[in-house]
């Protein structure tokens, strides 16, 4: 088990290196350059060239990468040439905000989608099953900017039940924060609900078809015991894996939600950094998101291993 975790953590290193190289290359193909981003379209060519030279942005790609990577691994994430703020605290704060939002959304998504999925799996082919399957899947493919705007309009502007932003005023207590997060979390929930519920349903249906469920039923166990003792645990395996991999989508969805709900998160930071050629910021943001993604998958795999002793012990 520990070996599994160790191996996976080790595997992250090449992935991150490749990712960071890719981001550098990405910054190259994106239109514009950092000097122009800082000085705007109205600065003269000479000024931009001067600034680029000062920032070292006119050096060859590999040189810049080497410098950046060298600093990064020593813990020096540098300063954003565009925003003139140190990268690490900025990224970490944005990440923290996003994690709170995504975490809260997951807190809603996971139980709801699992309950819905398992329920429709148990009631397979019933009208309810169809309703759940179709409605959750449809929610998933309705873009979050549509659901977000509609929800915002209904609950914040029209009914005024919920706040229009996701950030509570300063000095609010811990629980206020979640009150502010309810509205943004719902479109995110929609985004993931269908896929996870579908997996939970499939997992349940598959497990119900397994001979050991027959064993459990024919042992004369009460239905509750069969479901909670035998079905759920095994049905969760594909679901957990999917939840892990869906963290990527969740962060993708964050960009729009963060814009819509005025939330200073990592998604917005990333897109802005990409558009302004803020390479240190972009690199750091993308890499922490990649780490989050991989860690989420690792956690999912660990949970799978916990659910499945074979993997746990074989590992």
């Amino acid at each position: 088990m520990l070996r599994l975790i160790g191996r996976r953590l080790l595997l992250m290193v090449p992935t991150l290196i490749l990712a960071s190289i890719l981001i550098f290359a990405l910054a190259e193909v994106l239109p514009g350059d950092v000097g122009r981003s800082i000085l705007g379209p109205y600065a003269t060519q000479e000024q931009v060239a001067l600034l680029n030279h000062k920032l070292g942005a006119d050096k060859p790609l590999y040189q810049r990468y080497a410098v950046w990577a060298g600093n990064f691994v020593t813990g020096d994430w540098g300063e954003s040439p565009v925003l003139k703020v140190p990268v690490r605290p900025t990224v970490m704060k944005a990440l923290g905000n996003s994690m709170v939002l995504a975490g809260f959304a997951l807190l809603l998504i996971v139980p709801i989608s699992i309950v819905l999925g398992v329920f429709s799996g148990l009631r397979r082919d019933s009208a309810l099953d169809r309703a759940i399957t179709v409605s959750t899947l449809s929610m998933t493919v309705i873009p979050e900017f549509v659901s977000g705007v509609v929800l915002l309009y209904i609950f914040a502007v029209w009914l005024k039940w919920l706040p229009v932003t996701a950030m509570p005023p300063q000095g609010s207590n811990f629980f206020d924060r979640f009150y502010y997060l309810i509205l943004p979390a719902i479109p995110l929930m929609f985004l993931e609900l269908g896929y996870i519920a579908r997996m939970a349903r499939v997992g349940t249906v598959q497990v119900l078809a397994m001979p050991y469920i027959r064993t459990a039923v024919l042992k004369g166990l009460p239905r509750r015991r069969v479901i909670f003792g035998h079905v759920l645990r095994n049905a969760m395996v594909p679901t957990v894996t999917v939840i892990g991999s869906q963290v990527g989508w969740l962060i993708g969805g964050l960009v729009v939600i963060e814009t819509l709900f005025v939330y200073p998160g990592i998604g917005k930071l990333m897109v802005d950094a990409a558009q302004t050629h803020d390479v240190p910021m972009l690199e750091a943001a993308v890499l922490v998101v990649a780490v989050i993604y991989m860690v989420a998958n690792l956690i999912a795999d660990i949970i799978v291993a916990l659910l499945n002793p074979r993997i746990r012990m074989g590992g």
Partner: protein
């Protein structure tokens, strides 16, 4: 005395399918053991088998026609296909600007009202089906093609090839999708073809993963070994031996991706990377008209409802097909 209705009854599919494949199938083998049987009996069996095949096909069609899920989905999707093909004959031009009558509420002249440029929302909603119905299926096919090739190669060769491909795919998957799309669209430019390519590319890693695992399940099967013992080239084994047998996961993956393709096309438009105005594309319309949601909700709600209905329609078809086939 059956346990029908019980949540924990045995799974009908298990009994139906498993029986055919299991070591002690309850379902009877449909064909005669030809070697030594009396000829008359065989002919009879063969005729019965053909009859059975035809019956099954007819039954499937009938069951689909009777399935409310499937039919609803089919009608919805066909409606949009029809609209995409013929909307210009049914409604006014989706791009006819009437700057003096902008954001007009639904009326007899404009059933769905007008948008910020005075265009008929009904006409635009109808015509908006076109781009989605071109982009989403083609992008899905493209993703299946690329993902299929990558998945086949990785799953078939395994070893170092697989390792390298999967690491690269891991990297792509670890990158936030938004960054990937910006990258792709910055590289490629714009236009419908580019969007199709971009969405296809975005979905490729996921698809190739799915197909890879299907290939891995298939490559150890004995018919693949038989092909290798025949001296078949790898490309032949992948394309002709394995590929036809992983159509099931490919179709499932395809239907899931189709829904997401609609979603992604709309999101790309929202982020300003998708189609250009004055396309009546739903995603684009929702993104641009979104600011009028409060004062002229019809500009957003109708295309949103259209988008949702198409998506639900696709899902209903998928769902209906799955249920009928699994019976």
């Amino acid at each position: 005395m059956d346990d029908r209705g019980s949540t924990l009854g045995p799974d009908p599919d298990l009994q139906a399918e498993g029986m055919q494949l299991g070591a002690d199938p309850e379902m009877l083998e449909l064909r005669a053991e030809a070697a030594t049987g009396p000829a008359g009996q065989e002919t009879q069996a063969n005729a019965a088998a053909l009859l059975e095949q035809r019956r099954q096909r007819r039954y499937l069609v009938r069951a689909l026609l009777r399935s409310p899920t499937f039919m609803t989905g089919l009608i919805v999707v066909l409606f949009w296909v029809f609209m995409a093909l013929f909307s210009q004959f049914v409604t006014q031009s989706p791009t006819a600007v009437d700057a003096m009558h902008t954001l007009a509420p639904p009326s007899a002249a404009h059933w769905f009202g007008t948008d910020d440029l005075g265009r008929d929302v009904l006409a635009r909603t109808m015509a908006g089906a076109r781009s989605v119905l071109v982009i989403a299926p083609l992008a899905t096919l493209l993703a299946l093609l690329w993902g299929g090739i990558i998945g086949l190669v990785a799953g078939f060769y395994r070893g170092i090839t697989d390792e390298i491909i999967m690491r690269l795919i891991d990297v792509l998957l670890a990158l936030p999708i938004i960054i990937t799309s910006i990258l792709i669209l910055s590289l490629l430019g714009k236009g419908t073809a580019i969007i199709i390519i971009a969405i296809g590319a975005l979905f490729t890693p996921v698809v190739s993963r799915t197909i890879r695992s299907a290939v891995i399940g298939e490559r150890e099967r004995e018919y693949v070994m038989a092909a290798r013992l025949r001296g078949e080239r790898s490309a032949f084994v992948m394309a002709r031996e394995i590929l036809p047998n992983i159509t099931q996961p490919i179709i499932v993956e395809g239907t899931i991706r189709l829904g997401y393709a609609v979603f992604t096309a709309a999101t790309l438009s929202f982020l300003g990377f998708g189609l250009a105005p004055p396309s009546p594309d739903w995603g684009l319309t929702i993104a641009t008209e979104r600011i009028f949601l409060q004062i002229a909700p019809w500009t957003v709600l109708f295309p949103a409802a259209a988008l949702a209905s198409l998506v639900v329609g696709v899902n209903l078809i998928t769902d209906g097909l799955g249920r009928v086939f699994s019976k």
